[in-house]
Symmetry: C2
Subunit: 300 residues, 2 copies
């Protein structure tokens, strides 16, 4: 098992992270006036943190179709804003009550709860706005498709639905199937969207889009199991957030249901399956293939 991504993947990840950081900075200018505080909180929540895996998926998927990188970076920034909003709201005392995120105080600790709620709301709003802006794609049809796909992935039938199931399930014993569905909604849909967004930008064929969606689905599932393994096996120092929280909260994960070994085997199988969906994309999909291996091998 690898602890770090292979050199060329690491380089590509770092390059994309820098590119998307730049786009995020551009897309969130500080306004004059007292409303600047909410933009400051938005920037605190989304800038300078995370592996930018979702952004990387957008960029690499768009790259398969030769999409202009500046357009793809806008969509990548948008999905990172969406992801950041979900973390800000998830960390609130009424939700997971997490004081730390990515090794620094979570947004409501750094600012206050009201500001964190508003910053999350505004990040969500801005994410949709960016997709509809003309600079994102020449075709308004494609821009609408992005908005629709993000809405489906992140709303009540996607990420928010998954969070609701997660909250409703606390203290109750879930089956492996139920946990799988919860996690597909909670984290899987947005990861799948990220890969599909590249296909939408690239005006991919129906088949290409489906293959990429399958890749995203399996990668997301593998990623989530790996995350749960880290929660059991990792240390706070490695992951930059509290670990062992799932067990403490009585939250069922595939690791708690299947045990570490079977869960790891399932993650590895999903990772291999994800890579397999990319067969027809040839050499250009090499980073996406390596990412599938890396997500199950990472230590943070």
């Amino acid at each position: 098992m690898l602890e770090k991504p292979p050199a060329n993947l690491a380089e590509a990840l770092a390059g994309t992270a820098a590119e998307v950081e730049h786009a995020l900075d551009d897309l969130l200018p500080m306004p004059e006036g007292a409303e600047a505080r909410v933009v400051e909180a938005m920037r605190y929540a989304v800038l300078g943190g995370g592996k930018r895996m979702r952004a990387f998926l957008v960029m690499e998927s768009a790259g398969l179709f030769g999409v202009d990188r500046r357009c793809a970076a806008r969509v990548a920034a948008s999905v990172e804003m969406l992801h950041a909003y979900s973390l800000v709201h998830d960390d609130l005392p009424a939700m997971d009550d997490d004081d730390m995120r990515r090794g620094k105080p979570s947004t409501h600790k750094q600012f206050d709860e009201a500001t964190a709620i508003l910053a999350g709301d505004a990040l969500l709003t801005r994410a949709f706005e960016i997709l509809a802006e003309q600079d994102t794609h020449d075709s308004a049809e494609a821009r609408c498709e992005l908005v629709l796909a993000l809405g489906l992935a992140s709303g009540a039938r996607g990420m928010v639905g998954g969070q609701m199931i997660d909250i409703a399930a606390e203290g109750r014993q879930l089956t492996a199937d139920e946990v799988g569905r919860l996690q597909a909604l909670k984290t899987g849909r947005l990861i799948q969207y990220s890969v599909e967004a590249g296909a939408i930008l690239g005006r991919a064929t129906h088949t290409q889009r489906h293959l990429l969606a399958f890749y995203g689905r399996d990668l997301g599932a593998a990623f989530q199991i790996a995350d749960d393994l880290l929660d059991v096996e990792g240390t706070a120092e490695e992951t930059g957030k509290a670990t062992g929280k799932d067990a403490a909260a009585g939250k069922a994960t595939l690791v708690s249901i299947l045990g570490v070994d079977r869960a790891r085997a399932q993650a590895d199988a999903l990772s291999a399956q994800a890579a397999h969906h990319l067969d027809s994309f040839g050499e250009k999909a090499e980073h996406l293939r390596k990412l599938a291996t890396y997500v199950v091998a990472r230590r943070s």
Copy 2:
């Protein structure tokens, strides 16, 4: 001063409210599974309540251009979802901490805080999604324009920015200009958007859209002063929510700065000015004109 809207306006308001209620019900179907709880909370927050003024503005403005009422009703439902999300999050303990809304327990009291946060997030998401859906308009350009206009009106440069200013201003003495700007962002922008949305749906000329935007801006300002007057003069029974809260919270309003009489005079002047922007629209704008009179005369 009228206490109730004139008969034909009242009828039009009630007709639109019923139409939009139907659209909301259609656009928020209950899913299977444990995520149903968040949809239940979304429906609780948005169905069966409010005057539907924003929806009415969309419908009447779209009506000026002969837009299909089913398309307009979707956009009207979307803006009511956006408005409902803002109320759900505003009512949270970390924000305004309101237990009652429209004469019933606010969403976090009826459900719980986590569910209310998620329901607000999902209403916001669904509002954008609906705008991008093909049934909303034949032209993807128009759908993108709606998404952009709603984003601008409701994000950090609009409604959320206004809420941030409001929170940051608590306990500090604001000038009349500062209060005007705060309220323009916090409530004005979304009212203005509602009128502009009809113009976007109707592919209005630049001039027509601007006139309607000005109408919306002045109507929104008049509406807000009238709301603050109600907070001072109304009773909880009439308004369905706690009154006198602004004073108790030390929140500056134009009423507290200018006094009741000057504030009322300003609301009346804004109302007249709003109606004036509609001069070129003739008879078809009669409901919008009457609404401008009504918002400053209402008692709830």
